[in-house]
Symmetry: C2
Subunit: 276 residues, 2 copies
């Protein structure tokens, strides 16, 4: 018997993966959570029917959401992650020696506990690092109560449905701005330039209204819809396109050359950024 | 009733698209040919169960296989396309005014006639341009009988199964080299760096053995497996990384900046190029 998991990536398009074993399925207080062991991508975290991360390709998303802003900031000491309960982003953050404190704010405690049990490769023990603090609360509320506190904030959210809807609003970006120090930088994952054009247009406009500098960059992630994923970076002072010195980092996708080239947008994506 | 077309992209992975209408299915002398009208990507050409091109995203593949080598060559007058019966590559080639002759060598006449009937948007009338000649024969044989003839040769082939197997061999690349003029350049589509690693390793080694300069570049194409596609360029003299002057071209993906950034490879792809 062959078992296949099909994710409807858009109304008219899906990806289908052969499943070796279903390791876990449950309803948490916030969402439906599943861990599947697939033949193509290894173990996979699925929330509300959408692939969040897999053992095979997680390094791309997590390296790219982390190292681009942390290389742009000259001295990133305090870093906040909103979402990211699988721990993959924290694993990348603690590769930066300047980081003295990394806070993970995850709304759904069961994501963290289930990933620690079934997907320990993704966090790689990073959640036990003494510099790391894990807080289970709503990121929307957390950023309101922290003013001028963080050097970098990473919005490592799920899709803009269910618990993550508020993480794509103007008000939230303003609260992130206020939670950042005067030289602070934020990055948010902002979906596929092929299938989420309206979202990208509106999110870009919102981030541009709040931050003096706003840039989009791209990465190729095979398990995400279209295989091309966007991140939007907002910065108070430091320009990601003008980084001169890069630290040496142990990575498989990110590099100083990729840092620069990821901001080069194809014509049809540039138009989205310009609101067309 | 919902009709869905599922392509098995690897043994354990598929893409599935909702189909509005099946416009054509037939067995040609060489392969199974289908034209589907899908809700996500518009009309789509499928050969032997593999998506070749769609109205929605064809521009990316065709711009990238064409403009990178034609911008690298200082005066591309005679251009050969092997495969590419949909006409999308020819449509891009004739945007270059220096081109005085573009030859399309397609093994399967029915691909050309069926695409002209059902997918006229993709060739955009380019096959009727007076500079264009269409020849129905085996590209493997054609390159053997043409010596020092072309400025640029584009290998716009299907996957390395069925009629295209010979288009990935050392002997073929040597014949391409001989069919090129002393300043000639070739590009071949070389599949996904995620799912075709062995192919990329061996094709790269073969092209490096024949051409003094060999470089890989990448493009994001949502309908191809993994969404990330590789092209390998072999050149006798001109370095694609040292192009100084770019012509103005009407494109939606390619640009001088994309030309340069497409050669920046993520670490794990660079390793493939180095045979690791």
């Amino acid at each position: 018997m062959e078992l296949w998991y099909t994710e409807k990536q858009t109304q008219h398009l899906g990806i289908t993966c052969q499943v070796k074993e279903t390791l876990c399925t449950k309803m948490t207080a916030f969402q439906e959570l599943a861990i599947l062991d697939t033949l193509q991508f290894g173990k996979m975290l699925v929330l509300d029917g959408m692939v969040q991360t897999t053992v095979e390709d997680e390094f791309i998303y997590h390296e790219m959401i982390t190292h681009v802003p942390l290389a742009t900031h000259p001295n990133p000491q305090k870093v906040l992650v909103i979402g990211g309960g699988d721990g993959g982003t924290i694993k990348q953050i603690i590769k930066h020696r300047e980081v003295s404190r990394a806070v993970l704010v995850e709304i759904d405690e069961e994501v963290v506990t289930t990933c620690r049990e079934h997907l320990p490769e993704i966090s790689g023990g990073s959640l036990d690092d003494p510099r790391v603090e894990v807080i289970f609360t709503d990121g929307l509320e957390f950023v309101k109560t922290n003013k001028s506190e963080f050097d970098v904030i990473l919005v490592d959210s799920t899709e803009p449905v269910g618990p993550a809807v508020g993480l794509f609003t103007q008000e939230f970006y303003q609260n992130i701005f206020d939670a950042l120090k005067p030289e602070g930088i934020m990055v948010a994952q902002t979906e596929s330039p092929f299938y989420n054009r309206d979202l990208i247009r509106s999110v870009t406009q919102r981030i541009k209204k709040v931050f003096p500098l706003a840039h989009m960059y791209l990465a190729s992630i095979p398990t995400y819809p279209s295989g091309l994923w966007s991140f939007t970076l907002g910065s108070k002072v430091h320009d990601p396109l003008k980084v001169q010195e890069f630290k040496s980092l142990d990575t498989r996708y990110y590099s100083p050359e990729i840092h620069r080239s990821s901001f080069v947008l194809p014509g049809f994506v540039k138009e989205l950024m310009e609101g067309k």
